[in-house]
Each structure stands twice: as C-alpha cells, then as structure tokens.
C-alpha cells in the first residue's frame, strides 16, 4: 500500500541517492533482478514489453492517419473531432487498444502553427506514436516552448511568417495532443503510403513544418 506521503518519498530519494551505485545501468539491473527474484516481474517481461512496443508502436501510426486525412475529407473530419476514432479506423491504436485514451489532433494551416509540450513532466502520446524524442523531455524545451516558441522553432529550422499564429499546447491533463501538418504542394495524385512517407515525428509535435520527400518515418 502506498503511503502517499510526499516527505517520506523525498527522504527515500535522499537515501537512494546516497547509497546506490552512481552508474544508472547498474541501478536498473539491480532493481530488475530484485523484482524478477521476488516474482513481481516475469523473467522475460521487460524483453516482451520492448518487442511488443517495437512491433506495434511508432510514429508510423500517426503518419498513416495524417496521410489518410489529407486525401479523405470525411476522415479528416473524424480526426478533427474524434482523433481516437480515426486511429481506431486504421487499426493504429498501438498500446491504446482497448484502454481509455484521449487524443486531440490540432491542425496546422497557412495561418496557424501548433506546438506541443509538457512543461510539468513529459506527457506525450506514447501509446500511439511511440517514445518521445530526448529533446521533448529536456529542460530547455520544457522551459522555453511556452515562452519563446518562435525562438525554439527557429532552432529546429522552422521560420514562420509574422502573420502565422503559434498555438502552444501544454499537456497538463491526461489529454494528449498530436499536430497534423499541412500536405505539401506538388503531391497531387500520390498514394496514401507515399504521403505517409513524408510525415516526420517532429512534425507531429510541431517542431517541423514544411514536409519534404525523404524526411518521413513511414
């Protein structure tokens, strides 16, 4: 049973800091071995989890959904109003399958650019599009995205015109956000697979705006 005692865990942190080996890989190994020994974790649980994750989850899930929304206006409307329904329709629910999950798709346009952050921790639609990139969890990004979004975007090579409004979404509840980038010009007649191949992970977070051939994840 958890104590839910904040000061107690702060003290435990101090003890762990003082006594455990400084090499994180060793700490991970010690904890995993202990949990397996105690029967709290099956021997192969971690490997199975990682295999399952690698197989079912990743930015490709998001790329497929976005590509379909570019060529199918009805599907775009579904994505706009009920993003989980859109992911479900393509069998792209990943680890969110069967569970309660909440996703909001925010759409870029000629006059709007969206950027997603979690200033308080690291909330991200992991269950659908996989682990977030390292920079997303960094102090620099978390501190600056809400205050200097244009500066952050420039570091990622995104230069916005003055008239483009930036909307920054700080993930402070269990709702998760995904950015729907604009379909690039000159892709008329492309197949869904070809279009999905343009979508990058960063574009689904908002640190990439103008998609180009060869950049994508699918």
């Amino acid at each position: 049973m958890a104590s839910y005692d904040s000061d107690k865990v702060a003290h435990i942190h101090e003890e762990l800091h003082s006594h455990l080996p400084s090499e994180p890989a060793l700490r991970v190994k010690a904890l995993e071995s202990l949990l397996v020994e105690r029967g709290l974790l099956k021997t192969d649980a971690v490997d199975k989890w990682l295999d399952n994750f690698a197989e079912k989850i990743g930015p490709k899930n998001g790329a497929r959904v976005i590509a379909k929304s570019w060529i199918d206006p009805e599907f775009e409307s579904t994505l706009r109003h009920d993003a989980m329904q859109a992911f479900s329709a393509l069998g792209a629910l990943g680890l969110a399958k069967g569970g309660h999950y909440w996703l909001k798709a925010v759409f870029n346009s000629d006059t709007v650019h969206n950027l997603v952050v979690c200033t308080l921790c690291s909330c991200y639609p992991v269950a659908l599009i996989g682990m977030s990139p390292l920079w997303y969890k960094s102090n620099e990004y978390r501190a600056r995205a809400v205050r200097d979004p244009r500066g952050v975007l420039e570091e990622f090579g995104v230069k916005l015109n003055e008239h483009v409004e930036v909307r920054v979404w700080d993930s402070t509840s269990e709702r998760r956000y995904i950015v729907v980038p604009q379909r690039p010009a000159g892709t008329e007649g492309w197949s869904e697979d070809q279009l999905a191949g343009l979508v990058t992970r960063n574009s689904m977070i908002g640190t990439h705006r103008d998609l180009r051939q060869g950049d994508g994840v699918a």
Binding site: L120, C121, L134, V152
Partner: protein, 220 residues
C-alpha cells in the same frame, strides 16, 4: 508544491539540445529502454488500484527528487529512482536489497513492520457531479495559490486571465489522484494570449493552451 519540475517559462535555458535525434531511435542506451519498460510493466499491474499506485503519485514522486538531480540526471535514471522509491515506500522492497552484493533475501519481519507503517486512506472517493461552472468563451482567472502537494496548474499561468476554449466533462483531479483519491471534476482547456503571460510577448502572435480542472479557476 512548487518544486523545480515546474519550469515552463523559466528563463536562462540555452538552445534545445538533441533536436536532430533520429526519428526511429527511441532510446540511446539499452539500460534506458529497460528502465522505461520495467516501469511500464509495473504500472500496468497497478493501474486501477489507487491503494497501491496512481500515475499522479508517480509524477509527484519524481517531483520530489533532489532539485539538482532533477535538472541534471538522465530522464530514465529519474524514472528508475522514482520506481524504486515507490516500491520502498509501499513496503515491497527494502533499500538494502538494491545495494551491490545484496542477497535480496526475503525478510519477513521487515516486510511486516513495513506493513504496519501503512496509512489507511481516510478520504473516500468523491464525486461532486452537477453542471460545469464555466462555459466555452467565458473569461476565467486561474488561482494564485494552490495548496496541493501535486498540481497540474503550472506556475506560469497562475493568477492570469484566459478564455475557456473547450469543455471535456469530468476527469479525476490530478491533485487528488496524487494522494490516492479519485475525485472527478470538470476539465476545461483554457487559452491564454501570450501577452497576458509574458512581458516581452507581441500582440496577436501566440497563444498558450493548458488543460485545467474547475477548482483551478474562478470567474474573471
């Protein structure tokens, strides 16, 4: 609690690092993947059992890491330390068992004494029900003071005026979940003009959206 984790809008941080981190590479070292997967496996077993664990309790436990460690130690390293702290707190393991050379022998007496330290949760799960207090388009001011140990109202929006952008029905209040209490409350998305948050912001160029529970808000 105003710990160092609440860094939105803090100045002095340099360029965002690792921005060219390749799309397909989720983890840079194997231990990081294992650390994360181990946490996910344990959470999966605890989910839906607030006597043992809530996600907001985990978040709060990470927030209680020493501030210097919080800002400097690897993200996954912080997860493992938080998982270890949770397991020690709830009496599942003892610190000594994690030390190098530990035999990790089950010690019944310690485990029992651990269980006597358990605190029963006196607060029952609460559900207020009723209509949402605010409507879409309405101006609201976020509270200045938040007494909870864990809250999802970031410091940078406190006391500021925003507009209700959307309403999402009842969701468990994070501040209560972090104490093991499931208390559904109206959840909204609030839009703030950047000029209402930051002195250097220019008009009509940026807006910041947060999700906020009803108890974070008052009419403006």
């Amino acid at each position: 609690m105003d710990t160092v984790h609440d860094i939105g809008g803090r100045q002095g941080f340099g360029p965002v690092r690792w921005q060219n981190d390749h799309d397909e590479k989720a983890f840079h070292e194997e231990w990081q993947a294992r650390a994360w997967a181990m946490c996910m496996c344990m959470f999966a077993g605890w989910r839906g059992n607030p006597k043992v664990w809530t996600l907001d309790w985990f978040r709060h436990v990470r927030e209680r890491i020493d501030p210097i460690d919080y800002l400097t130690r690897n993200y996954y390293d912080q997860w493992v330390q938080s998982l270890a702290a949770i397991l020690i707190d709830n009496g599942t393991i003892r610190l000594e068992e994690l030390l190098p050379g530990s035999a990790a022998i089950e010690d019944e007496s310690t485990r029992k004494s651990g269980s006597t330290a358990e605190k029963s949760l006196t607060e029952s799960n609460e559900f207020a029900g009723g209509e949402p207090a605010f409507s879409v388009g309405q101006k609201v001011r976020t509270k200045i003071s938040i007494a909870a140990l864990h809250t999802r109202l970031p410091a940078y929006v406190r006391g500021r005026v925003g507009v209700i952008e959307s309403y999402h029905g009842y969701q468990p209040l994070a501040d209560a979940s972090a104490r093991g209490v499931i208390k559904p409350e109206s959840l909204y998305t609030i839009a703030f003009a950047a000029t209402d948050l930051w002195p250097e912001a220019q008009a009509d160029r940026e807006r910041v959206f947060i999700d906020a529970w009803e108890s974070y808000l008052e009419p403006a």
